[in-house]
Symmetry: C2
């Protein structure tokens, strides 16, 4: 237990929980991290697709970013309303289930679960991408670095996130501060130089164009860029955590986060075009992230460069933490509706839903290993889940306003309707554009997950029906069971087992299996002197002794057959099979004893039925 | 079961065993295989060490072979006497234990066990070596081929060797026949050409000498060549299998085997010198075995070459089979003296001591993998075990004659005494010469094995003492146990468990663990209506209900603490803990239910003691 305490902290009693009460200043790092950090990989993902376009890509980045920002503003107004309507937290799963029913709720649930796993995987891999840009020598260790960060996040999260407020605050503001500084300084230089600034560290030259611009490519670039929006839902999910006036604080936080995100995305797009910065091949040896190029071009590779890169790495790793905070809550909510195993509702030693964390870590680790820890390969799977969840959430809100018809319901319906329409279209665009690149994985996983969840619920319901007992205890026919004891030879274990049997019931059958290979005295030889005589002397009933011949030298099969045969002939009678077992002091001593007791217990459990119980009589070997 | 029947044959009843009764014609293949086949790797092992000597090595092979043959003849006379003295089978373990005591017996046992494992490994690897000489393309697959042959041998042996007589007969006589033909034809050609025959297929030229001849090297070559003697003991081991007159038949068989072996070894040595054939580097790409070169030189690479090579491969693989036949008998004999786990005394479905086969296969496989399936690397470990066993066996015979003092006892003592002296000296020579090359592994394993065997016997003796029960059944104080049932909520499982408890005893304590995270009704809420009221109505004692608070949300630890506490306060009282358990229909359904019942059973077994029994109440979920 001491090692556990050291690693994960001492157990927390249920009463030690404290409600967090935060304002916008603390809310921005906690709920905005996921959204803001996506500025570090969204533009990168879009520009990577434009590598084949060469210089022409640079002209495209600004209009595509503009389209993304418009979508972001629509989402902003939509989610403002969700916050108002669900002051206790309006995640997509809740909103969709409550307003649209179980089916859409499950769709949103599956989409969100996949989305959270991808948030963790993409956050970690993008963080490592930033690190590699600053220290290219580390590139061969990409996957190992990813898994190391995953391990650190796991340990931190299994201790609990109660005191991580400060850990979030500093890197988030450092990230926003340094990146905004780069953007402002850069824009001033662009303006001063008449649109043609001179980079301090020259970015790698853009490769010659090898493809021509098509609508298809524009759609793909747009889809990749949309990954910059995936964290927007977080605030509406956690409204409850804000202090009074809850709704107002939450809305203000959302406003600031979206405004910052718009500034970052717009600034990056403008500077990329002005400085002629494109993406580099993430699998190539000269890989350098877009932000790394940008910061170096504007500020040079001095201390400021390294501070900014460090804050990006930190913020991306911490953004993976959003998944650690939200995924277990989501699985718990789904599990409470019987759609996931009930373990997800159990709180571990540190008051966390630990099994949700285990599941997240397992899935994220698998994803990182499968895709080698390269962000660019993960991106196509991403976004779909998020946009699907957005769409169902907004659709749910439309129904919500329609049902409620409070003041201004038409206006609100229209706002959420536009949101639903825009995100719905985007979902389709992302799915189509990215299908072959990897979105098919997500498209396949969602129905599989839903099937699994439905099967889980069906199982739980069936078990609950079968176990439900409307009647009080039935006290009829409480006859002691028939006790069957397999015996080998007379020993202390035999005596202990027989004594226990005699204390339970007067109906006892001792079973001895006789094989041709036996040597030495068996219990049959001593039956009269050791067992029958003393019982008769005490006026007690002598157990029946049955000898089973085993020509094939099997020992357990004849016992099993005998028990099942008895069970068939004696209707309504309970049968207790006594299994004497030697318990050794050291594990290796098990090698010296056959494991018949364990095998018999397992056989009885697998082949047995409602009327067969197993009674384990342990004999503990003394020390020394 | 059907797959098992197909792979291993249907189970055999104990009565189906039939005693084999063989004469010399069948005895030579069965008991001589190991000895005769060593002609295929013994000279090879000696010549390999002489590679650095170049041409000079060739002159050395004849005198060294002569020394080996003298030793062989000494052994022959020694073992003739063992056969006479032990008509029921005189293996080294038996002879050493009976005449010298347990200590030397264990030394012989350990040496023999290691020797058998090496017989299997060397036989297989040498067979594959012969195959590779004929088809050099297979060299990269050496290890895979070795393991494949091991697998085939395992399957054949697990079916039993009852009808393998013919399988042994043909390849053995083919091997002896073809090889003797090669030797006779070769010697005639040597004689006809005046000592300088012209090879039909020229063997690879001998490399230039890179080392000079030292006594040390001679000792090493002699030690390696001694591996050709390892199979000599087999006949004396299996005297019982011969038909009347048993001793005479066995001795005649031994005579023929030794005579053949002498002819083969002497012939090979003479021809190698005459044709200028040396060993080639077994790790190099141009590897060709000595016998392959020899056959090709004398007979050319026609059909005769391939028939001979095939018979060598077969005989070597079958010689590994000697280990499969003898190792399980040896482990059984040791296990009957409590020095090895008792499973080695159990006969499996095909009347074999299957666990001995499993152990042999496991160890041989490990050895082959460790040494990459190369015979040359295994040889240094070999021979020591065999010669150690020889020495103890002969020493035992010396004591045997001394004790008996029958007619001619002095002469017999001298013969076995010379045998013991010669093999003892050889053991020391082999150990010294091969120590750094790998003999240290054997030298280390033998004491470790002995330590293990002694510890095993000590354990068995201790357990037997502890379990021995001289008194008849004690019928005092047969009070029903105190029954403790952990309960969660009212359900059919709860009802079943309670009913079983009521049928066993009137002293029942129901335990409910309450954590802060519980939701819904617990068994406490329904205690009065569902349980207490009907029992009171029936005039029965109502169980005690104990609620355990669990602030840290642990469920099983409080139950364990309660049980142990009760056990401590109630002296001499038996305690039965009822563990209700849900048994699902499909394994994957286990994921949906917590495994608390299994964990509790395990905790009770590990932390419990003599007075705590576990009663498992299974509830089988219905289908559909």
């Amino acid at each position: 237990m001491q090692i556990l305490d050291l690693l994960f902290g001492k157990p927390l009693a249920s009463g030690e929980e404290r409600a967090e009460q935060i304002g916008p200043a603390a809310g921005i790092p906690i709920f905005g991290l996921d959204a803001l950090s996506s500025a570090a990989y969204g533009p990168e993902a879009a520009l990577t697709l434009m590598i084949p376009l060469g210089l022409q890509g640079l002209h495209l980045i600004v209009p595509i970013t503009a389209a993304i920002l418009i979508l972001l503003i629509i989402l902003y107004f939509s989610y403002r309303q969700t916050i108002e309507a669900y002051p206790h937290g309006g995640g997509s799963y809740t909103v969709a289930t409550e307003n649209l029913g179980n089916g859409p709720g499950l769709l949103a649930a599956a989409a969100l679960m996949i989305d959270y796993v991808l948030t963790a995987a993409v956050g970690i891999s993008a963080g490592v991408g930033a690190l590699i840009s600053a220290a290219p020598k580390l590139q061969p260790h990409t996957l190992a670095l990813c898994l190391a960060i995953l391990l650190i996040l796991t340990l931190v999260n299994l201790r609990g996130v109660r005191d991580t407020g400060v850990a979030f605050l500093i890197p988030t503001y450092l990230f926003v501060g340094t990146l905004l500084t780069v953007i402002i300084v850069g824009l001033v230089r662009v303006f001063a130089s008449g649109g043609h600034p001179h980079p301090i560290a020259t970015p790698p030259a853009l490769p010659p164009a090898t493809a021509i611009l098509t609508t298809w490519l524009v759609l793909k670039v747009f889809s990749s860029g949309c990954t910059a929006m995936t964290g927007v839902e977080a605030v509406s999910n956690g409204v409850m955590a804000f202090r009074d006036p809850t709704t107002k604080n939450a809305r203000r936080t959302l406003t600031i986060i979206i405004a910052l995100l718009i500034a970052l995305l717009a600034g990056i797009a403008l500077l990329c075009r002005a400085y002629g910065i494109g993406a580099t091949d993430p699998n190539g040896s000269g890989y350098q992230s877009v932000l790394s190029q940008l910061i170096a071009a504007v500020m040079g590779r001095g201390w400021f460069y390294y501070v900014t890169i460090a804050s990006i790495l930190l913020v991306l790793a911490l953004s993976a933490n959003t998944a650690f905070a939200d995924f277990p809550r989501l699985t718990r909510a789904i599990s409470l509706h019987d759609y996931l195993p009930h373990v997800f509702t159990l709180r571990g030693r540190r008051l966390l839903y630990s099994h949700g964390i285990y599941a997240l870590v397992g899935l994220t680790g698998a994803l990182l290993i499968l895709f080698g820890g390269v962000t660019d390969r993960l991106i196509p799977l991403y976004a779909i889940g998020a946009f699907m969840a957005f769409t169902f959430s907004q659709l749910g809100m439309v129904v919500h306003w329609w049902r409620k018809r409070g003041p201004g319901w038409q206006r609100r319906m229209v706002v959420n309707g536009i949101g639903a329409f825009a995100t719905g279209i985007t979902t389709l665009v992302v799915l189509t554009a990215k299908f072959l690149d990897g979105a098919w994985v997500t498209a396949l996983l969602i129905p599989l997950l839903i099937l699994g969840m439905v099967a889980t619920r069906r199982h739980y319901r069936r078990v609950a029906r079968e176990l439900a007992d409307p009647d009080p205890l039935n006290v009829d026919n409480l006859k002691p069971p028939l006790v069957i004891i397999p015996l080998d030879k007379w020993s202390r274990i035999t005596e202990k087992a027989l004594r226990f049997a005699l204390s339970l019931s007067s109906d006892i059958i001792a079973v001895h299996v006789e094989t041709a290979d036996d040597h030495g005295t068996s219990v049959c030889d001593e039956w009269e002197s050791k067992i029958a005589a003393p019982l008769r002397a005490a006026g007690m009933k002598v157990p029946e002794l049955v000898t089973l011949k085993s020509p094939y030298r099997f020992v357990l099969a004849p016992v099993m057959d005998f028990v099942l045969e008895k069970e068939k002939t004696l209707e309504r009678r309970q049968i207790a099979v006594l299994v004497p077992e030697l318990v050794v002091r050291h594990w290796w001593e098990n090698l010296l004893h056959n494991q018949r007791a364990n095998v018999l217990k397992l056989m009885l459990l697998l082949k047995g039925n409602q009327r067969i119980m197993v009674i384990n009589i342990p004999w503990y070997l003394q020390r020394g």
